[in-house]
Symmetry: C2
Subunit: 321 residues, 2 copies
């Protein structure tokens, strides 16, 4: 079948838009931006995600309309930022969508091309950029609402235009969205500069445990700390990303003990050092500069094993280079 | 006299370039970028600053050539990022430069126009952008060295394209510099994501003092903390900027006690709240969102007075709005 997104959208009346589970700022921004654009074209839209919209993105117009339980029938599905249909989770499988065409909009090189039409551009730094290109093809005039949602996607995935893959195209897309009224400073502030006081308190507790062992800086988070600070999230609150900024460290590790006793180990490395092999060794995964795994054991025992493995890896990498 | 920068530069053989005291990333980036461009034009250049180049900018090519004691005679002076000739400090007054023409390159609206030629553009987010426009006029071809220095200026003054005054022009200038080979990710990483371990340790100490009083979050830094952490700088290590990211706070204050007993008070406010009047009240100054002053007294006493004044200001501002 040789159809186009223009044709599928033109024929559709009621469209289901879905992004991936555990949505990030590009998933949510692309979902909302595409939704607003389709409504502008006179389409009925339902925006869905298997998980709730994170509070960080509640400022985006329409974020309150995203549902985990879409109702009714649809004549078109559009997926956003999902490399695989399984990545959208139960929200898709809970409906009878057999025979309903899918437009698959994404930028991940790992996208398996599950759509009736696949708009997958691995050169794009964000799915929001792919949506922007589609809106041009559809002749939708940008407005502040659409532009703000899409800029949220670009700012998230380029970490404020600071990732190595930030292209001139991403910058140009941002300019286009700013011209349409998207407030760059506000978007950046919302995406990166807002945190609950409990998180500040957790930093205070966890930073007290910081140690430097050779090239490795590490810190611990315990359930007791989370409790004392009123920190309800199970994540590391961005601590590993902060620790790797220390000039003296090539590797940063956060040992984040969970309520069930498991320890989430998050690792970061400076460019030129690779922590992904150690993550694999412990049954986890990730990228050279950011990897992790989950493991059973006491904090001191896990720490000793992991730091020994990281020291070994660091030595081997510095020998061969 | 109706001369042009092109004419002045064309006639000059040995040029003194100076930026302002306590140089930031735009001052240093513009100084170095302009210097490399003039050398490419066959000019002899001496780059000067009354204060040392901060370690953050040592990665920039040529940063080691910046001197606080320029020698010899010059037939042209170019100032960069200095709104007033006094802002360049003793490095200018120590030389006999009477009668030597000055090209004044800046972007501050407060620039007093002290140059023989004044290239002052308050619409520019950084002096680096003004330099870039001048290099176009001069026909200098950008290369990676020049471009990296200038991008350092733009990234610094826009805080990585996140300040409210980040214009499409700043973004376009960044694209031009990226096209010439400037590594945006590396520049951003160097400017914002590198800190000594001593600073991480100081955060750990200072964050333990964090308190929230109504809309005000505050923390203290003492000489004893600096000593314990091996933190040699007298600044607040970016702590006020971090504290204002707490959702619960409208105002953040860091009470930073110096070795001589004086207390540097740094204040931040969310958009819509203004702390500059309180700074003025205590003999300091600044902007609505970032202001400060220095004061004698004990920490508890100063804290009480300042927090009372801030609470009062906050109440008045929230009444009238």
């Amino acid at each position: 079948m040789n159809t186009t997104p223009e044709a599928l959208i033109s024929e559709a009346q009621r469209i289901l838009l879905i992004c991936h589970v555990n949505p990030d700022g590009d998933a949510i921004g692309s979902l909302l931006g595409m939704g607003w654009a389709l409504r502008k074209m006179g389409k009925q839209c339902v925006l869905a995600c298997s998980d709730p919209v994170p509070p960080t993105y509640h400022y985006l117009p329409g974020s309150e309309t995203v549902t985990s339980e879409p109702q009714g029938s649809f004549d078109l599905v559009i997926t956003l930022d999902a490399s695989d249909l399984r990545r959208v989770g139960p929200v898709y499988t809970s409906l009878d969508l057999s025979g309903v065409p899918i437009i698959n909009i994404d930028h991940h090189i790992t996208n398996v091309g599950f759509g009736t039409v696949n708009l997958v551009d691995p050169q794009a730094t964000s799915t929001a950029e792919v949506v922007l290109a589609l809106l041009r093809r559809l002749g939708v005039e940008l407005d502040q609402t659409i532009a703000t949602c899409l800029l949220n996607g670009i700012v998230t995935d380029t970490r404020g235009f600071s990732t190595p893959n930030t292209t001139r195209r991403a910058m140009e897309a941002a300019i286009t969205l700013m011209d349409a009224g998207a407030p760059l400073a506000k978007v950046t502030d919302q995406v990166f500069n807002r945190r609950p006081l409990a998180e500040v308190r957790l930093w205070a507790e966890a930073l007290r445990t910081v140690r430097l062992e050779g090239p490795i800086i590490w810190a611990e988070i315990t359930p007791a700390m989370r409790l004392a600070c009123g920190f309800t999230d199970s994540g590391d609150a961005g601590l590993a990303n902060f620790l790797i900024t220390a000039n003296e460290a090539d590797i940063a590790v956060v040992f984040n003990q969970q309520a069930d006793g498991k320890i989430d180990v998050g690792m970061r490395a400076v460019p030129g050092v690779d922590v992904s092999a150690v993550a694999l060794e412990f049954g986890g995964g990730g990228h050279p500069q950011a990897a992790g795994f989950s493991i059973n054991g006491s904090l001191p025992e896990v720490r000793e094993r992991v730091i020994a493995a990281l020291k070994q890896a660091w030595l081997e990498q510095n020998d061969s280079s």
